[in-house]
Symmetry: C2
Subunit: 189 residues, 2 copies
Amino acid sequence: MERTLDRRSQILEVAARLFAERGFHGVSVGDIGRAVGISGPALYKHFDSKDDVLAEMLVAISERLLTEGQERVAQAHSPDAALAALVDWHVEFALAQPSLIVVQDRDWQSLAVEARERVRSLQREYVDLWADQLRRRDPDLTTDRAQAMAHAAFGLINSTPHSSRLPQSAMRELLAGMALGSLGLKSLS
Amino acid sequence: MERTLDRRSQILEVAARLFAERGFHGVSVGDIGRAVGISGPALYKHFDSKDDVLAEMLVAISERLLTEGQERVAQAHSPDAALAALVDWHVEFALAQPSLIVVQDRDWQSLAVEARERVRSLQREYVDLWADQLRRRDPDLTTDRAQAMAHAAFGLINSTPHSSRLPQSAMRELLAGMALGSLGLKSLS
DNA sequence: GCCTGCGGTTAACGAACGTTAACCTCTGTC
DNA sequence: GACAGAGGTTAACGTTCGTTAACCGCAGGC
């Protein structure tokens, strides 16, 4: 069954899909309500506002990406292993939650200031998690350059919603291989 | 001076910047008018509708990316050289027109059916331009996989609006190197 | 067996949107 | 020097939006 998540989670899930398809401003609260089987203003029994739905969604993603990323880095025994673990994690997340990935880099600008700054700060920390490992591997790398490399790797991996023709396992292997290649790590196969 | 482009081009340019910042649905015709120094409905002296502005913008980008890409491939003497030329071209375009890059992959879904299909078709052709060169280089590559690789490379290169800390020439070199690395080509330096 | 509160409903609101209408002011043409 | 058209203006339109208000049914605790 599984469609008996509590309403709140169900709304978040469905709203993510709609936001990914049409953008935050392209989706009305009526659309969201209809998609979960309630109608319009009932949404306000669960959230303070439409902006709140987006905020909760984006803060949750950013936190999840960061904390799981930190854990995987902590368990790695070399910068190369850490980077491989980060790539695997990001690929896994992007393949499992393509809608969230799309919303995260398309609609964060629609957040109210407070939530926006929280999300930005978490994202910066996540970028730096990658950048630090890159600089441990190559101490000549400047911080700016390492951050730009992390962003580029995210862009590569986050492209997955744009090309869903491949089976998931093939896509996972392809994206991980390309990401490692782009960062100058030798791919396994 | 140069700010005496004809109004039409000026509107397209300014609208691209606004759409990139806030999304198509997050920008009103009043916003666009204000940004070019006229007010609201005056825009209709130059375009049939707000959708028309977006359509013209996106069709122009897609055509430009494709035709210049085709020319660069035609002048290359090997698949490797063709891919390097495509990477250089895409990087150059993304650095010169970050707003257009953002709008192109964020707001194409807001297009009316006709324009949307035209843009999609041009984009498919551009993807295949890349995919064909990848398959000439490695005949074992399936079409689906080659297309996914092209999309991933676009994602990497198109990440440039998200990280503008580096000087442009350093960014050009970084993105080109990473893109080639992701595609399995040996980078020059 | 009442009552409280959760999760719904429909109706209504003011604001903002895209667009149209009506009008004005130049500028170049015959 | 009348006139047409290009490119502006403000006022006004209908629609849609996010949100609030008022109301209702039902489950669980006392």
